[in-house]
Amino acid sequence: MITVIKPGMQMTIQDLGRHGYRHLGIAQSGALDPYAMIIANRLVGNDDNQNVIEITLGLAQLQFQCATVIALHGADMQAKLGGVSIYPGWCYPVEQGQTLTLATARQGFRSYLAIKGGIDCHAVMNSTATDIAAGFGGLTGATLQANAQLPITPFDGDWPQRGAIAPAKRSVIRVHSGPHQQLRSQQYSDFFAQTKWQVSPQSNRMGVRLSTEHNQLMHTHSLPSLAVSPGSIQLTPSGEPIVLLNDGQTTGGYPLLGTVISADLHQFAQLKPGDFVQFEFVNLAVANTAQQKLDAHLQQLTIALKNLSIR
């Protein structure tokens, strides 16, 4: 069992999310930074889709009532286990009774805590991810609160200490151009791509809202509802783009400026209010190459971990 002492700004149980239910209005949910989550899982010997704890900003504390092995990845929240500093991208054995304390993220916004064997909770539509808006998944369908008890299977065997590096970060997010002619004029796409956008405080797991001074993207286009998904960039009438994330709705009536390429979407997990972000339009070939590069990064990790366990 793990006891949540302090959940911090927002703490949820997530896996890689729900797929195949969008036609019923059911969001994907799942870890906003799946690569950080997958790497943390692999370090403790879990399947990629094993659930983890998504921690937002930090200021959180968890106590382990039994021995296990953990790995943190994503934002560095200056974690301490039993008072001793531990680092993202490494796995650590945990003794019964030890407390994990997270300060605040210096860089990034979300950290992923993988626990050997994961948290024991029942899958809803093939996923244990928490859908906060609809109120199901995870343990109770809600964010984790103080005193929550998270059931885990104890592990006190030997486990090799090992580490893995995160995929490279980018300062400019790559996007596919959107389908709506009215937003494809040079005026719109140039302004969008040339602006340094600031992440608004209204951002959350549903989407990241972006603002700028002297916004020139105001519009009055309203469309029949069309399907949207994580990565869709909606343009609100006030000219503020919203990059939809995993908890976003399945349909929407705002025109689309474009779609964030699959390889760059996870970077929005690590943007906090006040951060700046820029965009560039790219073609399909660039998007495919970027995804292959990320896949190769994970593939290398698989090989490295296999070699480690053989030795």
Partner: protein, 222 residues
């Protein structure tokens, strides 16, 4: 423009998603939507998609394998050209509804707005034959086609912070059933115990795109 009025527009949204947009076609929206449902059915016969999502006169498919993007782009055009709008037959649902009183606090307002009696509003609403265009907004929320224009009512100036689960409501030219408690600006005219969404059910939503439904008064089934 000719291209748009005689066929749908196909757009690649990303390396694994394609939008078929038929919103600019000249046909009426319900017959276009019937073709969309038939196309959904066709797509679901293949093991190529993560999600197949109909919306208002459009369809978006999310591919398992980005390498098949060009193939499916061409295939969707072919299928759309040859699809029969009557290929898809949905289920019919009867939504037992208690109108007015504590169940429908806005029934009187809607009646007054249209110079009708509450009973006339109930009759018009329950005589309608509704088509589930698509689902969205929240799990199990069905966008319905078929609200009699006599009942079209502008949304409330002050949205409610909590519309109870099961509320049958009218907003502008649409009517809907709320699958869960949520904020909302529609007029609540009744209530139904019909479970639109239950995360533990298989499938989790009783109503699917392309289904038909009618509202029946509680009294009529007693």
């Amino acid at each position: 423009m000719d291209q748009q009025t005689t066929s749908a527009t196909i757009s690649v949204l990303s390396n694994n998603s394609i939008l078929l947009d038929a919103t600019a076609l000249n046909d009426d929206s319900l017959s276009i939507q019937k073709k969309i449902w038939a196309l959904v059915q066709q797509c679901n016969t293949r093991d190529a998609f993560i999600d197949v999502v109909p919306a208002m006169n459009s369809l978006t498919v999310y591919l398992i394998d980005p390498a098949t993007l060009a193939h499916w782009q061409a295939q969707l055009v072919l299928w759309w050209t040859n699809i029969n709008p009557y290929d898809y037959q949905g289920k019919h649902h009867k939504i037992i509804t208690q109108y007015g009183g504590e169940y429908g606090p806005d029934l009187e307002y809607v009646a007054e707005y249209h110079n009708l009696s509450p009973q006339q509003v109930i009759d018009i609403h329950s005589q309608g034959h509704y088509q589930v265009l698509f689902l969205g907004f929240q799990p199990g929320f069905a966008y319905l086609h078929g609200l009699n224009s006599q009942l079209h009512t502008p949304r409330r100036a002050q949205p409610r912070t909590r519309v109870p689960k099961g509320s049958v409501a009218i907003g502008a030219n649409q009517t809907a059933i709320y699958p869960a408690d949520s904020p909302g600006g529609w007029h609540i005219i009744g209530h139904s115990d019909f479970a639109l969404f239950d995360s533990e059910n298989t499938p989790p939503c009783a109503i699917q795109p392309g289904d038909t439904l009618q509202f029946v008064t509680k009294e009529s089934v007693l």
